[in-house]
Symmetry: C2
Subunit: 343 residues, 2 copies
């Protein structure tokens, strides 16, 4: 047999998944890959994610019977905490149970919520929101007696008191650039961007692949957290500072990203394809689950030495597959390593 011209298992031998390194026997000697660098991190560089920051979302099983569970990490302070607290309330009261995935737009978002909201063709009334939600609009429509505070569009950024270099880390300028801000980096494992002006810095989280945000209507509505979406394509950075980002996928993203695309406007499923709407059976706070069912995750500290080497390696791939190192990286091409704890 002629020596094959293409290797099936080694072709495109680059992975951004930490679970799938290239088989060692196929690999010429060279600089360590980003994954190999992460694999060498000391145990103390991994930071546990609190159970009260994890949501476990159970989808209806797939048509072949496969169980589908998605784990979402909620955004850290100082970002979007009003919406994040609303989401905890919605999860704890069971509000998300029995809603559906209603929209799958290719290279954009998967979105889930209550199908009866603002839908003239809906069969039923919208689900009643639980008490205790913070209000999500500057306008005057809200549910009586449920207003605790205002979540306005001005809450979408952290202000001057949140300083690059003090409150968050920007890797070497030579490695990361950004056309959407003056500086990008990481805050407690989250990708963030800042602009600077005479009034000081403004900092916000970034719409990378797998980030989770709050669906809303036209401004000044900012959404309650009852309708959520995740990014399934190229980072839609024009949404930064326009929508509240409240978290990211840490496991099970493939159950959402591989859903059939909707053929209606904006990727919504039409009534004719109503059977494609995936039911969400339950959404629970991990901290509310019995200890033996509670998922444990940890992220690689974005302030440690290993993370800095990982960023440098992703910006300048010198492992064997590569001919020309890029000389830089988009921040959304530097996913923060996250793994199940104790594995």
């Amino acid at each position: 047999m002629t020596k094959p011209l293409i290797s099936l298992t080694a072709a495109l031998a680059i992975s951004i998944s930490f679970a799938s390194p290239l088989a060692a026997q196929d690999q010429p000697a060279g600089a360590p890959s980003p994954n190999e660098i992460v694999g060498g991190a000391e145990a103390e560089e991994w930071v546990a994610i609190p159970a009260e920051d994890l949501l476990v979302m159970t989808l209806a099983p797939a048509s072949d019977g496969t169980e589908r569970e998605v784990v979402i990490q909620l955004m850290s302070a100082p970002f979007s905490q009003g919406w994040v607290e609303n989401i905890r309330t919605l999860a704890r009261t069971g509000w998300y149970d029995d809603i559906t995935v209603n929209r799958v737009q290719d290279n954009y978002v998967v979105q889930w919520g209550d199908l009866n909201y603002d839908n003239p063709e809906a069969d039923g009334d919208p689900k009643l929101l639980p008490a205790g939600l913070q209000v999500m609009a500057e306008s005057d429509y809200s549910v009586d007696g449920r207003i605790l505070s205002q979540l306005t569009v001005s809450n979408l950024v952290a202000k001057a008191e949140f300083q690059p270099g003090e409150d968050w880390i920007a890797p070497e300028e030579s490695e990361l650039g950004d056309e959407y801000s003056d500086l990008v980096g990481f805050h407690r494992g989250w990708p963030v961007a800042s602009t600077f002006s005479e009034y000081g810095a403004e900092t916000w989280p970034i719409h990378c692949y797998g980030m989770v945000g709050v669906g809303r209507n036209y401004s000044p509505d900012t959404g309650s957290g009852a309708e959520l979406y995740t990014v399934i394509g190229h980072a839609p950075r024009h949404l930064d500072r326009n929508i509240a980002l409240v978290g990211r996928m840490v496991e099970g993203m493939e159950h959402l990203s591989s859903l059939p695309r909707g053929t209606g406007a904006l990727g919504f499923y039409t009534e004719e394809e109503a059977d494609k709407r995936t039911p969400i059976l339950a959404v629970r706070m991990a901290s509310d689950l019995p200890a033996d069912e509670r998922p444990n995750f940890e992220y690689l500290s974005s302030e440690g030495e290993t993370f800095a080497r990982y960023v440098a390696a992703r910006a300048n791939r010198r492992d064997p597959f590569f001919i020309t190192p890029a000389g830089g990286a988009d921040i959304c091409n530097i996913p923060v390593p996250i793994r199940r704890a104790g594995e």
Copy 2:
């Protein structure tokens, strides 16, 4: 009924699909959206894509019987033309017929080829490549009598004679930046990047969502075009100048991006999930199809006035949903408008 707090159909009312504008009655007055600008282009700003640059790939029907057809536009000169010509040869000789999709890695690529290539667990021998292919490696393994010319890694960029501003258009610097190059822009509707040095400019096509490239093994192998992939996640720009880009998806991308993810290393399907490998029934050059079956596509000229306004609008969204215009755009967030001709 209480006024709903979230609009299902209007939430996240931004589309990068040209087929799905927001319903007009939901939309406050404001600046035109990028899609509205494209919709106003004059007929002469649309450029027909030649039938010899279109591949029609027919997948096996989905489990629910849905037919699945994918249309790929091949890359324009001066980029990757050796591989592109190989791909025409492979399509015309029927070589791609009855291969399979073997790899689906989330937020990365879908890859298809001959499962028997370099696969120790394969049942059969690799398919014999057709005569007339150009060689895909600088090394000495090749099929006797089939070497026409060398496709080397140095073919991955266009050299100094291909000049920004003369041979391709860079939109205003204030709107597009790039951390992977010195300048980005568009050449005949394709996203390209350049670096400059004392030796002149080097220019290459960009790995945006939906771009199609040539799977390869370790350098100096550059791949023949028999194994192809498309990008289904955030632009993996570190692959630029490392892999030959040969085209992009112009229709049917959703049939590939929504495939179930593989659980093996690098997203390859394991033997246990062999039934997830989607058969590719046929790949034909559009120019070889009967006239009444031939798809006709056109792209919005990247050198016209409408395209410039479209870029400016995408970089600074001022349509009603937006609160804070981004002030810039990543080139992969400026997809070149492509549509069926005559629609």
